[in-house]
C-alpha cells in the first residue's frame, strides 16, 4: 500500500537483519559518539521507511477527510483507511472487518470495553479477574469499572519466574467471574501467557475474555478465531506503526450489543433532537475524525511484518533473547527479573549495588538505549521487591552485535560504580 518495494518472503528464509536494518533510517545515527543500539522496543518500536513512505504519500497525495466525501481525494483516503482495516482483520484473522475498531491504542481499547461492555452489565458482587503481571492500562480501567458498578477485582498472582500461577488463576475463576482480562505477553517480564488454556477456562465459567496484546503482536502470530478470544487489543506503535493508532478486535455479537463509547460525528446514522440512530459496526465506536494517517501507517506496518513473516521474526527474536540471556548470566551481580519458560523479546534485570536509573544513564552514554523504571507495572516491581528494573527489549532489526554492545555497556556500569 505504501508503493515502496518491500522485502520478499523467499529472501527472508535466512533472516538477514542487516538488510532489515537498512529499512529503518533512525538506526543509522550516533548517540554520544557511538552507533545507536536501540533496545527500548517494548516502549515503542522504530518505523521502517515503508511506513514513513505511506505517511508521506498520504499527506503529500491523498489527504482528505474520509467517509461521505464525494471528491476523489476523500475517496482515496477512505479506500486507504478502510484498506488498513482489512489489513488488521487479516493480521488477527478476524471473521469480519466489522469486528475491527480503530482506537488510539491498547489503553483506549481496554477503556472502551470497560465502559461499553463491562459497566452496563456488571452488578455488585460480580467479579473481574486479572493477573499480577498486568500493565497499569489493564488494571486501572477495571478498578474504575468496579468503583462504578460494585463489582470486585480479583488478581491471580505470579511465581518467582514471573509465570502466572495457573492453579490460583483457575481457583479464582468462578460463576461470579463475568470478565477476564489478561496480558498476552508481559511488558515487564516478557512472559508469554498460556492464553489458549486461559480462554477455555474463562469460557467454561461463562466469562468473557479480553487479551491485552500490546506486547504480543510484534512477536507472536495472533489468530483470534483459533484462540476464540472475545476481545483482543493492541497498539500500532509497538508494531512499527505510528503512535496514536491501535485496534480493538471484538466478536461482532458482543460489539453489536454494546452502546457507543463516545458520541460525535461518524458514529451516527441519523441525528435529530428527538432521537439519534447509531451507525453500524465498527463506526458506532469511531466518533470524530480518526487518525487517518495512523491507520494507513498501521496498514503499511502490518504489510511490512507480514511480508517478512511473524514466525520468522519470532524465531529471530527468540535467538537474540536466548543469546542475551546467556551473556547476561556471565555478569556477576546481575539478576534477571522474569525467567519464564516461554518468553518474548524482554530482558529485564537488576544489578547489585547500582540503581536501574544509573544503569540507564551510563548505557545511554555508551549509545545503548534501554528503559528503566517500573514499566507501568508497579505490582510486578512489588512482587520482586525491586523499585525498578532495567529493561532491554528486542525487535526484528536487532542483532547479536547489539547484544554484545549491551553486555559491554553493563560491564562498563560495573566499572564506573566499582561493583
Amino acid at each position: 500500500m505504501s508503493g515502496v518495494q518491500q522485502p520478499k518472503k523467499e529472501t527472508m528464509n535466512a533472516f538477514d537483519a542487516e538488510s532489515i536494518r537498512r529499512d529503518f533510517p533512525i538506526l543509522h545515527q550516533e548517540v554520544h559518539g557511538r552507533p545507536l543500539v536501540y533496545l527500548d522496543n517494548a516502549a515503542t518500536s522504530q518505523k521502517p521507511r515503508q511506513v514513513i513512505a505511506a505517511l508521506d504519500h498520504y499527506y503529500s497525495v491523498d489527504n482528505a477527510n474520509i467517509h461521505r466525501g464525494v471528491h476523489t481525494l476523500s475517496e482515496r483516503a477512505t479506500a486507504a483507511y478502510e484498506g488498513a482495516r482489512d489489513e488488521v482483520k487479516q493480521f488477527l484473522n478476524a471473521v469480519d472487518r466489522r469486528e475491527i475498531v480503530f482506537v488510539r491504542g491498547a489503553t483506549e481499547a481496554i477503556n472502551l470495553v470497560a465502559q461499553s461492555y463491562a459497566r452496563p452489565r456488571l452488578k455488585p458482587g460480580d467479579e473481574i479477574l486479572i493477573t499480577e503481571m498486568e500493565h497499569h492500562s489493564n488494571i486501572v480501567p477495571w478498578q474504575m469499572v468496579c468503583e462504578q458498578t460494585g463489582a470486585v477485582l480479583k488478581v491471580a498472582s505470579i511465581d518467582e519466574a514471573g509465570e502466572l500461577r495457573l492453579d490460583e488463576f483457575y481457583r479464582l475463576l468462578n460463576a461470579r467471574t463475568k470478565l477476564v482480562a489478561v496480558v498476552h505477553v508481559s511488558n515487564a517480564l516478557g512472559t508469554i501467557n498460556p492464553v489458549r488454556e486461559i480462554i477455555q477456562a474463562a469460557h467454561a465459567q461463562g466469562a468473557v475474555i479480553l487479551l491485552d496484546g500490546a506486547q504480543a503482536v510484534p512477536h507472536v502470530a495472533v489468530d483470534v478465531q483459533a484462540l476464540d478470544c472475545d476481545f483482543y487489543v493492541f497498539s500500532g506503535h509497538k508494531l512499527y506503526a505510528p503512535t496514536g493508532i491501535g485496534a480493538l478486535y471484538g466478536k461482532a455479537a458482543l460489539l453489536e450489543a454494546m452502546p457507543p463509547y463516545q458520541g460525535g460525528g461518524d458514529m451516527i446514522r441519523s441525528v435529530t433532537f428527538a432521537k439519534t440512530e447509531y451507525n453500524v459496526l465498527p463506526y458506532k465506536f469511531e466518533a470524530g475524525t480518526p487518525h487517518i494517517a495512523g491507520g494507513i501507517g498501521l496498514g503499511a506496518a502490518i504489510d511490512y511484518v507480514s511480508n517478512i513473516g511473524l514466525n520468522v521474526i519470532a524465531a529471530w527474536e527468540d535467538e537474540l533473547l536466548r543469546y542475551a540471556t546467556a551473556r547476561a548470566h556471565e555478569i556477576p551481580g546481575l539478576r534477571l527479573i522474569g525467567t519464564a519458560r516461554r518468553k518474548a523479546g524482554i530482558l529485564s534485570f537488576v544489578l547489585d549495588g547500582v540503581h536501574p536509573h544509573d544503569i540507564g544513564t551510563i548505557l545511554d552514554h555508551e549509545g545503548v538505549a534501554i528503559r528503566t523504571g517500573h514499566h507501568c507495572a508497579m505490582p510486578v516491581m512489588d512482587h520482586f521487591a525491586v523499585p525498578a528494573t532495567a529493561r532491554a527489549s528486542f525487535a526484528l532489526y536487532n542483532t547479536r552485535g547489539d547484544v554484545d554492545r549491551l553486555i559491554a555497556a553493563i560491564v562498563r556500569v560495573k566499572e564506573v560504580f566499582r561493583v
Binding site: V354, H355, H357, T361, I362, H365, P387, A388, V416
Partner: protein
C-alpha cells in the same frame, strides 16, 4: 557531549555508598515523604527544629545514586542552618541545576556543586531535587507526599 564523570563525581559515589544522616528521628518535629513516581525513588525526611534552626535532620529510603547522594549531601549541609537560609539555598540549588548562567551561584553551593552535573541530564534533575522537594513539604507541613511531578 557531557562527560559521565561530570555526573558521577567521586563525592557522589561516596555519599551513595555511605549516606550521611541515614535513619529516622524518633521525635521529629517535622516529617515528610517524597516520591518520584517516574522512577520509584522514595524517601522519608525527618527534622528537629529549634528556634528556627534545623538542629537535626535525617533521611531514609531507596533511590538511585544521584537521589541518595543528593539527600545525603543536603542533610549534611542543612544541619545547624536556619530554616530561611535552607529555603534560600534550595532556590539557588534549583536554579543552578536547571538553568544555564548561574555559575556565580554555583560557587556558593559548596559541596552541593558536585550535583550540578545533572544539568546536562534533564531526565535526572528530578533525582537530584527529590530530597529538596521533600524538605519543602516537611517545612510547610501539608502532610502530603512530596512529588517531583
Amino acid at each position: 557531549m557531557s562527560d559521565l564523570r561530570d555526573l558521577y563525581q567521586e563525592v557522589i559515589f561516596d555519599h551513595n555508598r555511605h549516606p550521611r544522616n541515614f535513619g529516622k528521628i524518633a521525635n521529629a518535629d517535622r516529617h515528610a515523604d517524597g516520591h518520584n513516581p517516574l522512577c520509584g525513588d522514595k524517601l522519608s525526611l525527618y527534622l528537629k527544629i529549634d528556634n528556627d534552626v534545623i538542629t537535626d535532620i535525617r533521611f531514609e529510603g531507596s533511590g538511585c545514586a544521584i537521589s541518595t547522594a543528593s539527600a545525603s549531601l543536603m542533610t549534611e549541609r542543612l544541619k545547624g542552618m536556619k530554616v530561611a537560609d535552607a529555603e534560600a539555598l534550595f532556590q539557588k540549588f534549583h536554579a543552578v541545576i536547571t538553568q544555564d548562567g548561574h555559575d556565580a551561584d554555583s560557587s556558593q553551593l559548596g559541596k552541593l556543586s558536585v550535583l550540578t552535573g545533572v544539568r546536562g541530564y534533564p531526565a535526572r534533575v528530578k533525582c537530584a531535587t527529590l530530597a529538596w522537594h521533600t524538605l519543602e513539604a516537611a517545612l510547610h507541613g501539608k502532610g502530603e507526599t512530596a512529588s517531583t511531578e
